[in-house]
């Protein structure tokens, strides 16, 4: 089921900002993918190119006092929540100036100062953490919310059930956002998940569930806006199933034998959230073609500058490799 979306009546400045943030994610991921394939980046990376609308649409409704938990495919969530692009690029290089001082890398990018509680390398790891953050918000009587981003692969973890049940029992201010990109790593959701519209599970937890086109920024803005408003109003948790598609493989360099080239090309053409929103903005007169081009150029420069910052940054001092294992005390 796809919801009908009312026009959220964006003004040109908002449209420009939304486009800039989505394009920042796209350009960042493109640059990272190039650098990784060129052997410039250590480790491995998961690109969220193609899933920009979910991150930006949801996080547009959040303040730095709100929390998000993210996934192994977390660059977009971090950017959408407002992380410094330079600190994130530096983290991918393992530099001292990285968001996690080089300790985390791509899969553990975090910025607690803006409520970004970490990308997480454990699938389904965020459910309970977001629920815990929402529990704290409730206990502290704050007006804030927690948002848990997760993929369709995570919904078969026990933590999904344990967390949504508790959030339902206590009507916690948390929004569970399934970025349903149809593949759990290499395996199509239809082969591993009995009912692929995840939103129907909400009924079992006494919360509102909704399914929508996650490549349509306006639909995401609308559904997330309502869910977050309900959470802030003390009306409990929501489960949103946002259908989307990742342009790259599970990780960069994945041979992608599990999906056809045609499927990827067709979906990219028809469902690219960035191009789609840019087209909408121009068609409705919110932005001109020149505005769009200016945003693209501005973003390219910002990403290039972040990359330069990462390259110019020093590596961490190996003498600090045992720092921060604990807050108090240093292990032997």
């Amino acid at each position: 089921m796809t919801t009908t979306v009312p026009d959220p009546a964006l003004d040109p400045a908002q449209a420009r900002d939304l486009l800039r943030r989505m394009q920042t994610i796209r350009a960042f991921e493109s640059r990272v993918e190039e650098l990784f394939k060129a052997g410039e980046l250590p480790g491995f990376v998961h690109s969220c190119a193609g899933q920009e609308a979910t991150a930006v649409g949801v996080c547009s409704h959040l303040t730095p006092a709100d929390y998000i938990t993210s996934t192994h495919r977390g660059h977009g969530h971090a950017i959408a929540k407002g992380i410094s692009l330079g600190a994130m690029f530096a983290e991918l290089y393992g530099k001292a100036t990285g968001a996690c001082r080089g300790r985390g890398g791509s899969m553990h990018v975090a910025d607690f100062s803006i409520g970004m509680l970490g990308a997480n390398g454990i699938v389904g790891g965020g459910f309970g953490i977001a629920t815990g953050a929402a529990f704290a918000i409730r206990y502290q009587r704050r007006p804030d919310v927690a948002v848990c981003f997760f993929g369709d692969g995570a919904v078969n973890k026990g933590t999904f059930h344990e967390s949504l049940n508790f959030a339902g029992v206590h009507q916690l201010p948390v929004v569970f956002v399934c970025e349903n990109n149809r593949y759990a790593q290499f395996t199509a959701a239809s082969r591993t998940t009995a009912v692929t519209d995840i939103s129907v599970r909400a009924a079992g937890y006494g919360m509102v569930g909704e399914s929508l086109d996650g490549n349509d920024l306006l639909a995401v803005l609308d559904a997330a806006g309502r869910a977050i408003a309900r959470a802030r109003a003390g009306e409990g948790a929501t489960l949103l199933n946002m259908n989307t598609y990742r342009h790259s493989g599970h990780y960069v360099g994945d041979a992608e034998e599990y999906r056809s080239r045609d499927e990827v090309a067709n979906t990219r053409d028809t469902a690219d959230p960035v191009a789609r929103f840019a087209r909408h903005a121009v068609d409705t007169g919110l932005l001109t073609a020149d505005d769009v081009a200016a945003v693209m150029a501005e973003v390219d420069e910002a990403v290039a500058e972040a990359h330069r910052f990462a390259l110019d940054s020093p590596p961490p001092d190996p003498a600090g490799a045992l720092d921060d294992v604990w807050t108090v005390g240093v292990p032997r």
Binding site: Y67, T69, G98, A99, C100, R101, G102, R103, G104, H108, A110, D111, F112, S113, L117, G118, N120, G121, I122, G125, F127, G128, I129, A130, T131, G132, A133, A134, F135, A136, I137, Y139, Q140, A146, G158, T159, H161, E162, S163, N165, F166, V169, D323, D324, V325, W326, T327, V328, G329, P331, R332
Partner: protein, 322 residues
Amino acid sequence: MTFGQATLEAMQFAMDEDPSVVVIGEDISWGGNFGQFRGLVDRYGHDRVVDMPISESLIVALAVGASAAGLKVVASMSFVEFTLGAMDEIVNQASKFRYMFGGQTSVPIVLRASDGIRGSSGAQHSSSLEGMFCNVPGLKVVAPSNGNDAKGLLRAAIADPDPVIYLEHKKITGQRAPVTEGDFTVPLGSAAVVREGTDLTVVSYSNMVNHALVAAEQMATEHGVSVEVIDLRSLIPLDLDTVARSAMKTGAVLAAHESWAVGGFGAEVLAQVREAVPQQSALRTARLGAKTAPIPFSPQLEPAVVPGVAELVTEMRRLLAV
């Protein structure tokens, strides 16, 4: 007062002092499996003493997430075996959060779990799993042997900014002993010399300390051997200085615990003592722990796997050849 009541006092001091301290767990408002939480809900209400579903992963993840948002969560895990359902959250989240995120956050949580043999509780309710936790960087591990330490260590564990696994031996949770009145802490990482001696050092923790004290007395009266007994109290951080000083004095160390000897914490203590004392010192060492089997149910089989006073005496005599 009992060991359990002593921990209850520590909980009350912590909760009275700091409104961000919250207690969660299965059956918590009913007092928990061993009554250590009895009465807390009347004093602090259901918002602060939260009954959890039988969802161990969530219990730990909730504690981690709530700590990121400013709370200090004490979670009752009930039997230590139930922590295994949350090992992902303990090892992959709680222990790594601070380090992996570059020191941006702390995880001030306490996971209380009942371990040890109580007599025919069977393989899934009798284990001691501290060896697993001690192997994980980022965790702190505490295992008191008596009510007084239980109170002071719990107070310290709740005040500590890092994740602490607080292990309470179920055989002694109901045991009565004098407990210092009022509010006090026993710092993490401070061992206690609970019996002074000159011929042999027994390093232990949790209920095995109580067995070691009985065995030490037996060694004195029956074999004329002077045994020093060290109660580690806190395993991680480890008070190696106290152990090494004793080892230098006695020249012989027996590391003893109820959990499995193979891959156990006793072996780790002995290795660290060896590294700490001068190369030329002729240190004699031995370890004593459960044999490599799940803990059996039968009253005749349980002591065949888990050591007690008799095995401690045998091992001390073997080590000293007396």
